[in-house]
Symmetry: C3
Subunit: 324 residues, 3 copies
């Protein structure tokens, strides 16, 4: 177990915005709580009353069926009322500003916002503007962070591979545009991971990657050598400006995860992907559906981890802690 | 009562995909259960706890306010949590495959999918891929089947006209493109209906219609002669390729159900339509809103029948049956 | 308290369509009920079981995140099941008529419709067609009325300024296109407001405004002189045909509410706006976010007032009253 002296900041008790400032201890606490929620999803009656009478707003400025759905299911299993608002940034710009939108929703005595926004920093901006009893969860902001994805990945790694201090983890693909990769790197670091590698073509490798304490590789076979965990990233075409990769076929030949390539990793290595996958582009179907893949368990774990995060922020015990 | 030796297949206990393979006994059981749910809609508190803690996903790849809403209401009256996902086939093709979408939702420990899809066979495809504890209800797939509509129509006929073995039923209009007609014909046959007629212009009459055991008519007056039940179909312009009908006026003159035309049927005949109606095209408003119309009771019955189907698949008793 | 001999009409007990026919007594009763619901929004568990097992349909033919959300939250806090239907008028026209849509939803044993529609009179049309046990709430119809907004504004004025018989209220801006202004004027009149002023450029002043018993002003400073309440209206560009205002800058110079301009009002005057605001057009941000603004409390009050209206129409006590 990771034990550090760091105490949680007030912000960390109120919001969940990034993995960058989380201590290993805080992450471990959240993963432990998530562990207790795994059983809820396996029961006949998948419901606990922790957030009964709370109102959670899913405020999505980017389309996302999967993340929206997991938060909606997580909230409903905690017995909260969920309000879905799917909108586009242009609609907001025309009508009223982002902060006006949030202030209005806040005035309706809503308790927690789950926010996805194409601009980096959007969730932080909102978090700084809400009163103490309102909570903000970042469900992805631009290229910046996707911390609940980061934590569900840590949860998955811990379940399959145990102690982070013995693990070598490779993150592969479009690191440049990936908010997921950023959140993973910070969390892996906080949890004391032995070695974190990043594998990408030069055009998709962030300039300052080494300063994050990770080892960059442009050769995939070398980067995968003996790793315990392979995290594939989605090619984020929608965030690319200009041609950053050669043809799809060439990309797959160099950086696609095939069964052959996976043999460079440790024989018991697990393969992860945050989804949705581009099959045949960053990952071969034989690997995605193969015995080392834990891609669907990631989704299952996502519900439990999101329940843990929602309950931690807005649950009755959280409220008690705040008033004591 | 219809009593047959056929035992339900495992598939029929797990999914609800078509009326084609249902025995009269199974249909009768479902209609009997639906009968017990009719009273729920008439109570002050329209709620029973049968599916509390279950998660139902309404996965609609075609827009449909009415069917989506009836399933949502049916699920909520059974106390289930409902997740609505409205998407388009093109979005799925671009992002991830249909099966990836379903596998992801399944990994969230969802219990039942209600699926509408423009491709015939989509619900079957999904049903074959899910594990034993996940249920699939076909809410309309291409031209193939719309079995919950078929059963709510049987429920309505039974309520108004009693024993199927004494009834002559005419199905009128765009049979060629109608998944509803297919589901009705199979269910009417299983229930031992005395005579099933199909009335349509040649261009909208399926080639193999006689092999279904029904009597085809191209003359509407002859086809309506003394029938007990008139089921009008919606002209499915959106599924027609090319000009299959003459002008709207000419179609109405030949196949529109007017009060005059209805006089060819039995004086106590009921008039049905799955909705939404094209008034003045396949049916005159005087008939749609007239004393023989049971079009709105069909909608009411649709809630009860869908509750019966959802409860049968995912209810606690169903679960018990599975484990015993 | 306003005490009048008028008894509520049957329509007023069944529907909530306009403030035009409401007596001061009825309005006061609703505001008193809303007062009791304010505390629900401030509790740890924001939920009362008054409408448990009832089905409310939010039927929106115009996009409106804010109003839809407040009704959804109000309904959920009363424990009702909420069905959201967002559609466009063109889709309705193509498919089935407005009344067919409503009759179908009604056949699903839904209890209450919250309707927003671009055509004036749409909610009345529907209210006249539904049976006795179904309730209709007008959430805005064309330029005609937005009575729940009108009542939440009365609630807000009463909370901050007390007795209407001592108050001077100015309504400022695009009165011509404002259904909100109409609903406010009728409610203010019914509550015995001392003086109601309307401030607008000639091009946005309704011809028959004086017949409503209000005093028209085209000069803003004169109109604001010593008023207790300033209600700013949103410029409804989407309802304007042709150029009714000069440039935005010129409009703001003449009719925008700035701190300087607000000094003409009573020093304790409150500033209201139904939202969403066009900042820098009809109102300066310094005023919108300033100490006299009660714009966010309006939103909070909107939940309580809508809960009061929903509970009054569809609650168990309402049901008792009907059967006695």
């Amino acid at each position: 177990m990771i034990a550090e002296g760091t105490r949680e900041s007030a912000e960390q008790r109120q919001h969940f915005l990034t993995t960058e400032t989380l201590s290993g201890r805080t992450i471990t606490e959240i993963l432990d709580t998530a562990e207790s929620f795994i059983s809820v999803g396996e029961r006949e009656i998948k419901k606990v009353p922790l957030l009964r009478g709370k109102t959670i707003v899913n405020l999505f400025f980017e389309a996302s069926t999967r993340t929206r759905t997991t938060f909606e299911i997580a909230g409903k299993r905690l017995s909260a009322d969920i309000i879905n608002i799917n909108t586009s940034v242009s609609a907001t710009q025309k009508g009223e500003s982002l902060l006006d939108t949030v202030r209005n929703l806040e005035a309706m005595h809503t308790d927690l916002f789950v926010i996805r926004h194409p601009l980096s920093g959007a969730a932080d901006l909102i978090a700084r503007s809400v009163p103490r009893h309102v909570h903000v969860v970042n469900a992805g902001d631009g290229r910046h962070a996707h911390p609940t994805q980061g934590l569900l990945d840590m949860f998955t790694i811990r379940r399959y591979k145990g102690d982070f201090r013995r693990l070598t983890v490779a993150i592969v693909g479009d690191v440049l545009h990936s908010r997921v990769a950023r959140s993973q790197i910070h969390a892996l670091t906080a949890l004391g991971t032995k070695e974190i590698r990043v594998i990408a073509p030069r055009s998709l490798m962030p300039a300052a990657v080494a300063s994050l304490g990770v080892t960059p590789y442009t050769d995939m076979n070398a980067g995968l050598k003996d790793v315990d965990v392979v995290i594939m990233l989605r090619l984020q075409f929608e965030r690319m400006s200009g041609a950053l990769i050669p043809s799809a076929r060439e990309y797959f030949a160099l950086y696609g995860l095939t069964p052959d390539r996976l043999r460079h990793a440790h024989p018991q290595a697990i393969v992860m992907h945050p989804g949705p996958m581009n099959r045949g582009l960053e990952i071969a179907s034989e690997v995605a559906d193969g015995p080392q893949s834990v891609i669907l368990p990631q989704v299952t774990n996502g519900i439990a981890v999101r329940m843990a995060i929602l309950a931690r922020l807005a649950g009755a015990q959280a409220a008690e802690a705040k008033t004591s």
